[in-house]
Symmetry: C2
Subunit: 222 residues, 2 copies
């Protein structure tokens, strides 16, 4: 039973809240029973409150705060871009959105979420939590999207009318700036929004609607 806050495992968990340490070590933290149960590879560290460690010491290194019952430390896994339908993100800085898109991709398409420049770390505590465990089942990828690139942009041709050959990669930029003007894509498509409504959907909503629409159409064509 760990009884000292100076324990090396606790120190490691605390450090992994910082991106710098996650990058250096290639590790990340999953907090809570649901996430630890969703893990599909072995932890490097696994601490259960009241069994391996005094509960208040586990709370103290948790990003969730009090009442954390288990924390696991895992090695980061990165996929290769691929699949008949996947998502590419660029400049999506909110970790909650990145995690939510990983969950939606796991539910709706066969490819990973590919992270381009300036995205939130998918292995940050907030992104891991928002993925609801899908980070284990469908680890994210890095690099360039390969296939028919559909850039999601407001005001473009409705997504429901686009003709595209798989493999398809739905590409999304930051909510305000969108994708860079020089981003190389094969098609531009949009989600029709009501007149007088907001300029855009939340980026995770937009990604999910696009995967739903394109996934349904690919299933109908198959």
């Amino acid at each position: 039973m760990i009884t000292s806050p100076d324990n090396e495992q606790l120190k490691t968990i605390r450090k992994l809240q910082a991106k710098k340490h996650r990058e250096r070590s290639g590790l990340f933290v999953a907090e809570g029973e649901d996430l630890v149960e969703a893990a599909t590879w072995e932890p490097e560290i696994l601490l259960v409150a009241g069994v391996d460690v005094e509960p208040n010491l586990l709370d103290a290194v948790s990003s969730l705060g009090s009442g954390t019952r288990v924390i696991g430390v895992y090695r980061q896994v990165w996929s290769e871009p691929g699949g008949s339908l996947s998502v590419y993100l660029r400049g999506v800085r909110d970790p909650g959105n990145v995690g939510a898109i990983i969950r939606s991709a796991h539910a709706l398409c066969d490819g990973p979420v590919i992270l381009g420049p300036d995205c939130a770390d998918p292995y940050s505590p907030k992104a891991v939590r928002a993925s609801m465990g899908s980070i284990f089942a469908r680890p994210p990828a890095r690099g360039e999207p390969a296939g028919t690139r559909i850039a999601l942009e407001r005001g473009a041709q409705p997504l429901a009318t686009v003709e595209a050959q798989p493999p398809i990669v739905v590409c999304l930029g930051a909510e305000r700036e969108g994708l860079p003007a020089d981003f190389a894509c094969d098609l531009r498509a949009g989600i029709p929004l009501r007149d007088g409504g907001p300029d855009s959907l939340n980026v995770a909503m937009a990604a999910t609607v696009a995967l739903y629409e394109l996934g349904n159409r690919m299933a109908a064509d198959a």
Copy 2:
């Protein structure tokens, strides 16, 4: 220029972080220039950092933390249920999800978000922020949904094949529990998810996909 933390307006803003005070007063807080610009009715209080109040005092009452440039206090507005397509929520406790659904409804349908029992307060700071200003353009409703109630449930008939007459109300429960077993609905429909994927989408994603699908089909029928 307000120079004392004991100022009555600052005290009001601080109190409004608590649901109890929001309910008693019928007021809510919008923080930041984007939200205040999105307001479509007059503020009861409007404080600009460096103009009306010392910046550090405004930061101290902000739920966003440092760097807040403006805070407005507004009267809560509640809509009546209605529209040809709207959303009913029950047991959706995360304010970020409630706010995101208000934004999506504003973008994709003509009716409000109707809040049933056990939902997060749509006028909490986190929900207001997630609405990205849509709370002003499309104030939420309370009470019972009127029209064809489609309960969104995992494993039910695909949403894309449902035949329903407007007005349609998409009904969603909490992510795990779903709607209560005795919830009265006209139809049950689901968003098809891949085998081996997660059990469910995030509730805001599910609501947005449902509004997209049903809105598109209603537009095609019109």
